[in-house]
């Protein structure tokens, strides 16, 4: 037998260069846009990025860029990168990752400079942009982490919106009744788990399609919280809605760290929920990719039958993960009423649950990726407000569309490939 070369099929097959021109064309188009907008039509003024706030301990000087000059330089770099991509496509059939990444970063910066150079005041505050974004980012992160937990174990969670809303409502109600913010926080986690319980029960036990259950649960929670809001929360005593006056979780700035420009106000002047978020992102990442717990969850989400054959109870794993996801999203919901604002209002989550879903996909089902995507969406959302403050000629509605449009591009594969856990959305029925 030794004569026979035990050749393996995949190694024998020659690789043929299949050139995809999509990336070079895409980059080329954007480079062209850059040349026209940033260089030729670039505004003459300067773009000022304010980094420190006036009462910060360390004052970092403002970053001032001459808009047009910067636009010219940036568009030249972009053109060069597009050419590089074209050459790479021609020679190696694949555009190196650093090219597209650099392109994206340079384009975004140049776009910002161009937009800000074109505004009336020609300056924005970076700390305001990022710190303000946390208001949206925090619940988004919790929502998307809930999604990570569920989808990594194979259950699609469209009900994030409902979990956030249930958390926000319950936190407000319980914190008002008990006059204890932590009781509200705990109750919010429980409320999120209740929604999760329905999701799990119907999709795992009764094998109802997960997307249907999720969609319907959102309607259910919206109706239920709306109804109870009308019936309970509006009850007023001496003009005060006593069931909608939640005690707040205090901000706990960390000494020194909170003074770091931009990062300080963003990350280290938060309530306990904010710190919990930071811990959770890292812990979930570590848990998923470095521990037994995570290995098993990922196995269940990728190939439930394989997990079953090595003695992992697939449906129990899913059940527990969905429940945990509910608790996480519930806490994210509590952020609305215990930190962000002082009372519950109907449908106050306003579709953030769906953006969280988008962040999850954008972040490629990875806790850290999802958190960064949530930050991106949070910043995009705040940018609209910041830019209208700076007097931008760009209509706010277009900025409002940004996260949604980005998400469509992401799921269409224009912004990197994302691969969902293979068994996500598929019920596991033994046998």
């Amino acid at each position: 037998m030794s004569v026979v070369a035990a050749a393996e099929p995949s190694k024998l097959a020659d690789r043929v260069a299949i050139r995809s021109w999509r990336t070079p064309i895409l980059l080329g188009v954007f480079a062209l846009v850059a040349v026209v907008l940033f260089a030729i039509l670039g505004p003459d003024g300067q773009a000022t990025f304010r980094i420190s706030q006036d009462n910060d301990a360390w004052q970092v000087p403002n970053l001032v860029l001459p808009a047009k000059a910067f636009g010219i330089v940036a568009s030249l770099i972009l053109v060069a990168l597009a050419v590089a991509a074209w050459l790479q496509s021609k020679n190696q059939a694949r555009v190196a990752k650093w090219v597209t990444m650099t392109f994206a970063v340079v384009f975004v910066i140049a776009l910002m400079v161009w937009i800000i150079g074109g505004t009336k005041t020609q300056n924005i505050t970076l700390v305001g942009l990022f710190a303000g974004a946390m208001l949206i980012t925090t619940p988004l992160v919790f929502g998307s982490l809930s999604g990570v937990l569920c989808e990594r174990s194979g259950v699609v969670n469209i009900a994030i919106e409902g979990q956030l809303l249930a958390g926000a409502f319950t936190a407000a109600l319980v914190a008002s009744i008990t006059q204890n913010a932590f009781a509200g926080l705990f109750a919010a986690a429980v409320a999120g788990m209740l929604v999760s319980f329905l999701l799990a029960a119907f999709s795992i036990k009764y094998v109802v399609n997960q997307i249907i259950v999720g969609v319907v649960l959102n309607v259910l929670v919206s109706g239920l919280t709306g109804f109870l809001f009308e019936k309970i929360m509006k009850t007023k005593v001496d003009g005060v809605a006593i069931y909608n006056q939640p005690v707040h979780l205090p901000d706990l700035p960390i000494p020194f760290l909170s003074q770091i420009p931009i990062l300080g106000p963003m990350l280290f002047r938060q309530s306990i929920i904010g710190y919990f978020m930071l811990v959770l992102v890292v812990a979930l990442w570590f848990g998923l990719f470095r521990t037994r717990w995570g290995l098993r969850i990922r196995a269940v989400g990728e190939h439930p039958k394989a997990a079953d054959t090595v003695g992992i109870n697939v449906n129990r794993t899913r059940f527990l993960n969905v429940m945990a996801g509910g608790a996480v999203a519930g806490i994210g919901g509590a952020y609305f009423t215990l930190v962000a604002v002082s009372s519950f209002s109907k449908d106050m989550t306003g579709g953030l649950g769906f953006i969280a879903l988008a962040a999850l996909i954008f972040g490629r089902w990875n806790p850290i990726g999802a958190a960064l995507a949530a930050l991106l969406f949070g910043v995009a959302g705040n940018l609209q407000s910041i830019l209208s403050l700076a007097g931008t000629p760009i209509d706010g509605q277009f900025l409002a569309m940004l996260p949604y449009a980005l998400t469509i591009l992401a799921v269409s594969g224009f912004v990197g490939k994302s691969r969902a856990p293979a068994a996500s959305g598929q019920p596991y029925v033994k046998g």
Binding site: F202, V207, V208, I211, V219, F227, G369, D395, F398, K417
Partner: protein
């Protein structure tokens, strides 16, 4: 494990059969869903509605101050609690029923005939429900009826209030424009699904939001009524309106006829036509459909176009039937209700029709309930979503009723 998991593999995994269609062929999850949705029976549906109403009734009762007051002295006079519960629930559901059908207490004879309000509400629900149903049968979840209604209404509106055409022609142009508007919006999702494998659920959800922003932008600029600063369009031309069926006293309009025609058309399409055969095959087993020579990607695109056109027609019945002018809330919650309508109708055209009638009745009755029994209309959303949950899980309903049958004594003790 050595690499950081956040960095995806540099090359897409070599899959054995990578063909243009392999992406859309991959998720045949629609298959099982369609089967499970369609395989229930009428009894389950009736019981689901019943159980949902009971749970709704419990919510109404426990949040009624009269009930809570009476329950305070429950042990002294339990009868008071029960009569309070009865009063509370019967008042609410009584108002619901009267509002949806016939209300002898209403002041005018027009007002008494709530049934026509039911039909008015049902009209866009039928069309949007059909949109969801049709896509569903081809294996696609069209969660985007909301956005498609908005775009349909926008297109219809542009023709309806910015163009001035002779009677009949104008209305036909409005209807056509609405269908096109919806079709374009849904077509985007269909196209991306077919070409890139982008999941239509995510895309249509995102398109819903984009549609709202887009329309708000137009309403602040190009489509704003002259002389007004409100984000609301001018009124439609009289020629562009769907005629009222029963005169000016009732809002029920020719949109209902349009909707019924659409039901017949979709029923024919799905059950009798080769195109429908193709859609059903794609929905049930895209790989087999592809092997049998059907072009799955084209199927996805065309079915979304038709589905979007139906949703666009729902937008037409809104703007040219009841609302007259365009604003960003033109779709109300029709697009989302349409999903539950389609599920309740078991993704069959006539099922969708009757489900839409039921939801129209809930809507008409819900208003009456809110006004006359002071029960928030939100309870309707609760009841509707419970109905769908129960219908989607027949074993739950079955086991619930078995429990009751098996242990009546236990319940007493």
């Amino acid at each position: 494990m050595s690499e950081t998991p956040s960095i995806p593999a540099p090359t897409p995994a070599p899959t054995p059969a990578p063909t243009p269609d392999s992406k859309d062929v991959k998720d045949a999850e629609g298959t099982r869903v369609i089967r499970e949705i369609m395989s229930g029976n009428a009894i389950i549906s009736v019981l689901a509605v019943l159980v949902a109403l009971v749970i709704g009734g419990i919510l109404i009762a426990i949040t009624d101050p009269r009930v809570t007051a009476a329950s305070g002295y429950f042990f002294a006079d339990p009868g008071a609690t029960f009569s309070a519960i009865w009063a509370s629930v019967s008042e609410a559901y009584g108002a619901l029923w009267r509002g949806a059908t016939y209300d002898p207490t209403a002041r005018t004879w027009q007002g008494q005939l709530g049934i026509f309000e039911t039909l008015t509400f049902a009209t866009p629900l039928i069309l949007a429900g059909l949109a969801v149903t049709l896509a569903f049968r081809a294996g696609l979840f069209n969660i985007g009826a909301q956005g498609q209604i908005i775009m349909g209404a926008t297109f219809a509106g542009v023709v309806g209030f910015q163009m001035h055409l002779p009677p009949v022609i104008h209305l036909l142009a409005v209807i056509l424009a609405g269908a096109i508007g919806g079709a374009i919006w849904a077509g985007i999702a269909g196209f991306l699904k077919a070409r890139t494998g982008a999941h239509e659920v995510i895309v249509t959800i995102m398109l819903n939001y984009i549609a709202v922003s887009f329309v708000l932008y137009l309403l602040k600029n190009q489509l704003k009524a002259p002389g007004s600063t409100n984000p609301i369009s001018p009124q439609m031309d009289a020629n562009a309106m769907l005629p009222l069926l029963l005169g000016p006293n009732f809002r029920v309009n020719a949109g209902l006829i349009l909707a019924i025609l659409a039901v017949i058309a979709v029923a024919w399409l799905l059950n009798r036509s080769t195109l429908g055969f193709e859609y059903r095959a794609i929905g049930a087993n895209p790989k087999a459909a592809r092997t049998a020579g059907m072009i799955v990607s084209r199927g996805y695109i065309t079915v979304m176009l038709i589905s979007g056109a139906l949703a666009g027609l729902a937008g037409v019945t809104q703007i040219a039937g009841t609302e007259k002018s365009l604003d960003s809330e033109i779709a109300g919650s029709i697009g989302f209700d349409a999903i539950t309508v389609a599920l309740l109708g078991r993704s069959k055209p006539w099922g969708t029709f009757f489900a839409a009638l039921l939801f129209g009745a809930f809507k008409a009755g819900g208003t009456s309930m809110a006004v006359n029994a002071d029960v928030s209309i939100d309870i309707v959303a609760v009841v509707q979503s419970l109905i769908v949950l129960f219908i989607a899980a027949p074993p739950l309903i079955r086991s619930m009723f078995r429990i009751k049958a098996v242990r009546p004594e236990g319940a007493k003790a």
